[in-house]
């Protein structure tokens, strides 16, 4: 008999969250090196930091 997964277990799965964190890191790296906006450059480090810390956290979520 299959046991139903809880809502939290369904929500906190590694795959999609890792993809999200990867996208945030990639966006941060783009903001850091783009030639268009100094404002985006100013926020780039915060975005990369959030993505990287997020990635470390979500990589401990169950598969």
């Amino acid at each position: 008999m299959k046991r139903k997964k809880s809502a939290a277990a369904r929500l906190f799965r590694r795959g999609p969250w890792e993809n999200l964190a990867t996208a945030v890191i990639a966006a941060g790296v783009f903001m850091l090196m783009q030639p268009f906006s100094l404002w985006a450059f100013g926020w780039s480090f915060s975005v990369i930091l959030v993505g990287t810390v997020g990635f470390v956290i979500v990589s401990h979520f169950p598969k």
């Binding site: 990867t22 890191i25 790296v29 850091l32 090196m33 030639p35 480090f45 990369i48 470390v56």
Partner: protein, 314 residues
């Protein structure tokens, strides 16, 4: 003499027996910790402690050339200064220009060479060895001899370009417009073989029956490339892009040897400016903050790299 040797051997054997008897009382986990402990201590001493110390320094006004000066905690001011500086923004754009163009050229040439070498023509292994030579050289050596190749009056590069295009003497390193391309050309020359090797590994892993099945289905060469070759090699290419991207983001030695960041600051990449701030201007706190920004960026990219690596493995 023989008796004393025998007694020494007996003593050593007895000591070994006593040691193994003592070890028998120790759990497996403890033995594992005994073996791992030196490595962990070494890692803490040469990796973790400097990292934590750099993070601390990045929030201070510390200058390493004035050790007697009181160190003041200035919060995130170093980060604010860095992330609001148009100069730093410019250095990171120069880094981006370098990384993007080296990636484009190295992938195009590396993949092309891999496709050629994969045809297994006569002498393919000889040419593979020749192509791999630049990758095996030291960046300092490569930088030095390319400065000779780039000499406008006597260098072979300027001579060849002049011969075919009639441009006259080309000052690759001294020109503001050409200097960024001079470092891109040298890095591409040096690291294309690496991309070629990875792509070749991907190409060799494609089973022949896929192409045979495609032949039966009357697929043309372009379709075989698009539907079989490219998807099979793509994970290897991604790996190469990420690995070389991270390496080029940190690029220092080759560019210092070639242009030293000049002319002006045209080829001053982020890591070169970091070294200038830290060891020429002695703004240790400020440069620590810059180092942390670069570290977090590389760490973030490293996470993506590991993720792609796991995908390739699976």
């Amino acid at each position: 003499m023989a008796g004393s040797t025998r007694s020494a051997t007996n003593r050593a054997a007895a000591a070994a027996t006593r040691f193994s008897a003592k070890l028998r009382g120790v759990s497996d986990a403890s033995i594992a910790w005994i073996f791992i402990a030196p490595t962990i201590l070494l890692l803490l001493a040469i990796n973790i402690f400097p990292l934590l110390w750099t993070i601390y320094l990045s929030f201070t006004n510390f200058r390493a050339n004035q050790p007697g000066r009181p160190v003041r905690w200035i919060g995130t001011r170093n980060y604010e200064r860095l992330l609001g500086s148009e100069d730093i923004w410019g250095y990171l754009q120069a880094t981006a220009h370098f990384v993007i163009w080296t990636m484009i050229l190295q992938i195009a040439l590396g993949f092309g060479l891999a496709l050629l070498i994969n045809r297994n023509f006569r002498g393919a292994s000889f040419w593979t060895t020749i192509i791999l030579i630049p990758m095996m050289l030291s960046p300092a050596v490569v930088g030095t001899f390319w400065t000779y190749i780039y000499q406008p009056q006597t260098g072979i590069f300027s001579y060849i370009i002049d011969f075919f295009a009639g441009t006259g003497a080309l000052d690759m390193i001294g020109s503001v417009t050409l200097a960024p391309w001079s470092i891109i050309i040298v890095d591409t020359w040096m690291w294309t073989p690496y991309i070629m090797l990875l792509c070749l590994a991907g190409l060799r892993s494609i089973p022949d029956y896929l192409y045979e099945a495609a032949e039966i289905d009357r697929a043309n060469a372009l379709q075989k490339f698009w539907y079989i070759t490219l998807p099979r090699v793509l994970p290897f290419l991604m790996l190469a892009v990420l690995f070389r991207g991270i390496e080029n983001f940190k690029m220092f030695d080759l560019v210092v040897e070639l242009t030293s960041g000049g002319p002006g600051s045209t080829t001053e990449l982020a890591s070169i400016n970091l070294k200038r701030e830290a060891f020429e201007k002695w703004r240790t706190g400020y440069s620590s903050a810059f180092a942390i920004i670069l570290f977090v960026t590389i760490f973030g990219l490293g996470n993506i790299y590991v993720k792609v690596l796991n995908k390739v493995k699976s």
